[in-house]
Subunit: 363 residues, 2 copies
């Protein structure tokens, strides 16, 4: 809206939940400071306790120059149930989301309570027309560049139509945020068992083969394909996607732990570490969890990015980058276009247009 597609300098306004996350509000304001340098055309609305934010902005001049404080006294606790958070008025999280709903910002970024953010975002912003189930997407490193996977936890179970919508949103995400012109899309399945995977997955594949996505639809992928980068987009249900995301995180952490213990085992290996350190630092950078910080809630009327609660300023700045990329590249307009093309093609068959957009949260 504020950002004509094709503009070189991203211009948009983001609503920031300045009180969410383990290191809020300091890490948040410092993250805004970093992002403000990278994106001078972006304006930040900082929602939170004014008394805490004013002194922080005094210390971070770039953040101050690009931000406005919006006082919000209440904070959604990390352990608060989503249902309770939804009822609570005056929270920084709620106010930030309201700003998007009111047209004052194109997107919202929060490092706060995940369940509360998802529930509030769904209720306040609502799903895009034609989207049955908004989905959480995450970016993961692979041998061939970044991969986007969705759903990673918004919907424990999905039907074939949901998976097709995820494919549309994932394709648009790969184009607008990963900058790919013809992203390859894969559907997660299991190959090992005699039933050859899930019926809903097979049905979704059949539908996708009849859509505009068909030329870049790779078909089925398996867990190993995430790291090998077989496709740029991996579509799956929220249960297996969440398990995959967290399993990969855990596996990488375990190997790095083992590596540390290996390098501290003897004087010789310690010397090896000193010599290999520049390379190992590069490895750490390649798989830096801060670089992959941020899960994107796709399919809502507004951009919603969830930053890890424990991230630092650098990590939060990456989450802001993501939101800016999406907001400045008319992300949701492109999803609308993609959905329209699928509906026009009749690929969804008898269900085409026959099913009113429905909110998962309300079901």
């Amino acid at each position: 809206m504020l950002n004509p597609a094709g503009s070189v300098v991203p211009i948009c306004t983001l609503a920031v939940d300045a009180m969410g996350g383990d290191h809020a509000p300091e890490a948040i304001v410092r993250g805004v400071d970093i992002a403000a340098e990278r994106h001078p055309g972006v304006k930040f609305l900082l929602f939170g306790q004014e008394a805490a934010l004013v002194p922080l902005l005094r210390r971070h001049k770039r953040a101050a120059a690009h931000s406005e404080i919006r006082d919000a006294r209440e904070v959604v606790g990390n352990d608060m149930k989503a249902a309770a958070a939804v009822r609570l008025r005056g929270t920084s999280m709620r106010a930030a989301i309201d700003a998007v709903a009111g047209g004052h910002a194109s997107g919202v970024v929060s490092a706060g309570n995940t369940g509360a953010l998802l529930a509030l975002a769904k209720i306040v912003l609502k799903a895009l027309p034609g989207i049955d189930r908004p989905a959480l997407a995450a970016i993961m490193p692979s041998a061939r560049g970044d991969t986007v996977m969705l759903d990673v936890g918004a919907n424990a179970s999905c039907d074939s139509r949901n998976l097709v919508e995820f494919a549309v949103m994932g394709d648009v995400f790969a184009r607008t945020v990963l900058g790919l012109t013809t992203p390859r899309v894969g559907l997660m399945n299991v190959g090992a068992e005699e039933l050859k995977g899930d019926e809903r997955v097979r049905e979704a594949a059949d539908i996708l083969r009849g859509t505009y996505l068909a030329p870049n639809f790779h078909g089925f992928v398996e867990g190993t394909d995430i790291a090998s980068g077989t496709t740029d987009v991996i579509v799956t249900d929220g249960f297996s996607g969440n398990v995959a995301l967290k399993t990969a995180e855990g596996a990488v952490k375990l190997v790095l732990q083992m590596l540390r213990s290996v390098f501290t085992a003897s004087i010789a290996t310690r010397m090896g570490y000193v010599l290999a350190r520049p390379g190992l630092e590069r490895l750490r950078e390649m798989i830096d969890p801060r670089r992959y910080n941020g899960a994107m809630m796709l399919g809502l009327n507004g951009v919603v990015v969830k930053s890890h609660g424990g991230t630092d300023a650098q990590g939060f700045a990456y989450a802001l980058d993501l939101a800016i990329d999406m907001a400045a590249n008319s992300f949701n307009d492109r999803i609308r276009d993609g959905l329209a093309r699928i509906v026009d093609s009749g690929a969804l068959g008898a269900r085409e247009g026959g099913k009113a957009p429905r909110m998962a949260a309300g079901s």
Copy 2:
């Protein structure tokens, strides 16, 4: 049966599909040779083409001393559909499974076509009384020792009762094969979303809290808990389990690839590699895929172990070790005991005993 529990030297007979896998029959016979040294009380029935096996046994004396050849002319191809493999008579795979059904062996090990092995094993051996769905289990490394996860691909979707049966089988596996006296059991779930995961998973947790497993039931785990070793047993459906297993494999491989590229980047890092090599070799050993070779089909009338098709002799020997551990420790008797305790406790509620054992393959 042949193996009284508590015997120091495992005594049992295993049926081996000598023609299955990418490097069969050579790698298979060499694997038997390695296993025969480790387990002098075990007898191997080698099913395959006699003309190919005789010269191999001539070269591998230990294997020869502990094996008998059972001529089987046909081979199940790697690309053969399970349904076709089931119809094909006279294959080494089928004959090996028949030997278990006929009481001539306690278990079968094959590196051949996975779908065919699972389908044949289910049809020929049938599920244990009280087991609704046999499951595939895999052992994965963690920061706190080995973890067993099931199902990793036999059943794309599962209900709460299936998950409870998996918990019983996983607990017995951790006791008999991993050698743990009080294995902790976790149920895979997703924590991030506002619905707090899958309903079937929550129902399974409620049931488990009313069984003999309750004291060691940890509750829900997430993907990261696999590598951190939060529990010794992880119970999940075959879709997410398969995705998790393969995602972890891929992630570990990616980090090792990056590590290689880091160490070959400069002369300094190459020197670092030389110094760190003993440690890195140790790292490789810790996560050697051959050590984690073999998926176990649990819940059938007989032990069934699937080795990776691409493994070498060492990897196949590990798969044989697993089968021997299970066969020699009365694995299936213990599962029967566990199921009986759950049925007696009434934890399965109205469904207790009311549901006849049913084969997934036949549904």
